[in-house]
């Protein structure tokens, strides 16, 4: 015990706690991350989509996904509903993107919406993953390492867009599957994802996210009669790389308009940043209380010990 006095111990504990609190603040600051400056994105203009499903075919080819039950030009899939008609088609382990049809009020034509991973600036899936399988790349893609994935499905719960899918078909080593922005085969080489190149109507515009935000607002400004005055994904959950323009209210095409503007991470960062503080301060604090409370006995004990050691 020599060298570490009670005073030094408590002092060190307080320094440690201060350092942790400072760190905690820095960690909280990360929730304001607005995306990498060179990050790419996609502007999805729902007023252009004709529901041809070519994007789905492109994805299937590019990602070597299994042959589906029906060809991609078969539009009868739009009639598919699940869960008593409440649920339209969703992404799964064999389809990282799907198109759904909506009969929106005030629109003569049916409205179609492609869904896929929106590649958030601050992905909730990444935050929720305890093996750090997810990465947000500087190009804007949210990718994952299937070898690291332990199949816990935390990300499926965390994702505000319900995108990550699970390989339920695999009995051994099931993992998460989702759109990766064609990161390894295309994005990293500066190419647009397969679906974007395939789209005949340029529903999908590929470019730097910052530029796309300007283009989107310009489209709204030029055609206020066509578009709802909102760019979905510009601010939602801290911003997403894939953003939507629509001619009908977003909730009518199955888009969740109740999502917060702050990243999902910010819900947790406040109390999570307290965890290290608690871990560092509480032991020091309670040890301090303990020492203060039992101080008299201890000190007398130490006094008794020290002369003995010297003798040795």
């Amino acid at each position: 015990m020599k060298g570490i006095t009670r005073r030094k111990f408590i002092l060190a504990g307080m320094w440690g706690a201060t350092a942790v609190i400072m760190n905690g603040k820095a960690a909280h600051g990360k929730a304001d991350f607005e995306g990498y400056p060179e990050g790419m994105g996609v502007l999805v203009d729902l007023t252009r989509c004709v529901g041809c499903r070519t994007c789905e075919a492109a994805c299937n080819n590019e990602q070597n996904l299994p042959v589906p039950d029906r060809p991609f030009y078969d539009q009868s899939v739009f009639d598919e509903v699940h869960h008593d008609g409440k649920q339209k088609r969703r992404t799964d382990e064999n389809a990282y993107t799907v198109v759904n049809r909506y009969d929106a009020e005030g629109s003569e034509e049916a409205v179609y919406r492609k869904i896929q991973c929106n590649h958030c600036n601050e992905p909730a899936c990444l935050t929720s993953c305890f093996v750090s399988a997810y990465t947000k790349t500087k190009e804007g893609a949210v990718i994952y390492n299937p070898k690291a994935c332990v199949g816990c499905r935390n990300c499926m719960i965390a994702c505000p867009f319900r995108i990550p899918a699970y390989t339920y078909s695999k009995a051994l080593n099931p993992v998460i599957k989702k759109c990766i922005f064609c990161y390894d085969t295309r994005l990293v080489n500066g190419q647009p994802p397969a679906c974007i190149e395939a789209c005949p109507m340029e529903v999908l515009t590929f470019g730097h996210r910052d530029d796309l935000i300007k283009i989107a607002h310009e489209r709204i400004r030029m055609h206020p009669d066509v578009y709802i005055d909102h760019l979905y994904g510009e601010r939602e959950v801290g911003g997403t790389a894939w953003m939507y323009l629509s001619g009908v209210p977003f909730e009518q095409v199955g888009i969740d308009t109740t999502l917060q503007k702050d990243p999902i991470l910010s819900n947790a960062s406040e109390f999570l940043s307290n965890v290290p503080v608690v871990l560092a301060v509480w032991p020091a604090l309670f040890m301090g209380f303990h020492l203060l409370a039992t101080g008299d006995n201890r000190e007398s004990g130490e006094e008794n010990h020290e002369p003995e050691r010297k003798e040795e």
Binding site: R48, V50, G51, C52, T54, A57, A58, N60, N61, V67, P68, D69, R70, P71, F72, Y73, D74, Q75, S76, E109, G190, Q191, P192, I196, E197, C199, P200, M201, E202, T205, F206, G207, H208, D211, I215, E218, R219, M222
Partner: protein, 178 residues
């Protein structure tokens, strides 16, 4: 100063000559110079070429600018375009591919597009979208067919791409109705 007979004569001749140089651009001579049928095939792949009856569409359209914007020097209908191009002269390039690039999302194109802060047309569709956006929108309006295979047939490569070998349930597959 009273005009002499010869002055009036020369003026009239000059006026007729200038009319002859302008008018043929807009009307009669146009038929002679423009193609009546165009084979659009530069993007063929999953779908075959489009045999475009230019003459028939010419009769349907009110003005060339419905498809060719301001490039023919004809009356510009789009008010947004007219803000700058109301008095625009005909341009050298009038084909779609002359302005709408076939590769609108390549790194090089994005770079050149966004590096120019004065570029107004920074949201110009690529060639494939220029065709489809223009054609499909008008076909819808006019009640013309809008199915993929109404204009271009799916090729063998297209069949494989769209997974035509899928265990089709026999539904759909006609490509009708977009």
């Amino acid at each position: 100063m009273p005009c002499s007979r010869s002055t009036i004569f020369i003026t009239i001749i000059f006026a007729i000559m200038s009319l002859m140089t302008i008018l043929p651009e807009r009307a009669t001579g146009e038929r002679g110079r423009i193609p009546t049928e165009i084979e659009i095939g530069s993007l063929a792949g999953l779908f075959g070429e489009v045999y475009f009856d230019h003459e028939m569409h010419l009769d349907l359209a009110d003005t060339c600018s419905e498809c060719h914007h301001h490039t023919l020097g004809s009356y510009v209908i789009d008010e947004d375009c007219a803000r700058c191009h109301r008095e625009s002269e005909p341009t050298e390039e009038v084909s779609c591919g002359g302005c709408h690039t076939a590769d609108p999302f390549s790194a090089e194109y994005l770079k050149t597009k966004m590096e120019d802060p004065n570029l107004y047309h920074n949201d110009k569709p690529g060639l494939k979208a220029a065709y489809h956006l223009n054609c499909v929108a008008c076909h819808r309006e006019m009640g013309a067919p809008t199915g993929c295979q109404d204009c271009h047939e799916r090729t063998a490569a297209g069949d494989s791409y769209y997974r035509a070998d899928a265990m089709a349930s026999g539904v759909g597959g006609t490509g009708k109705e977009h």
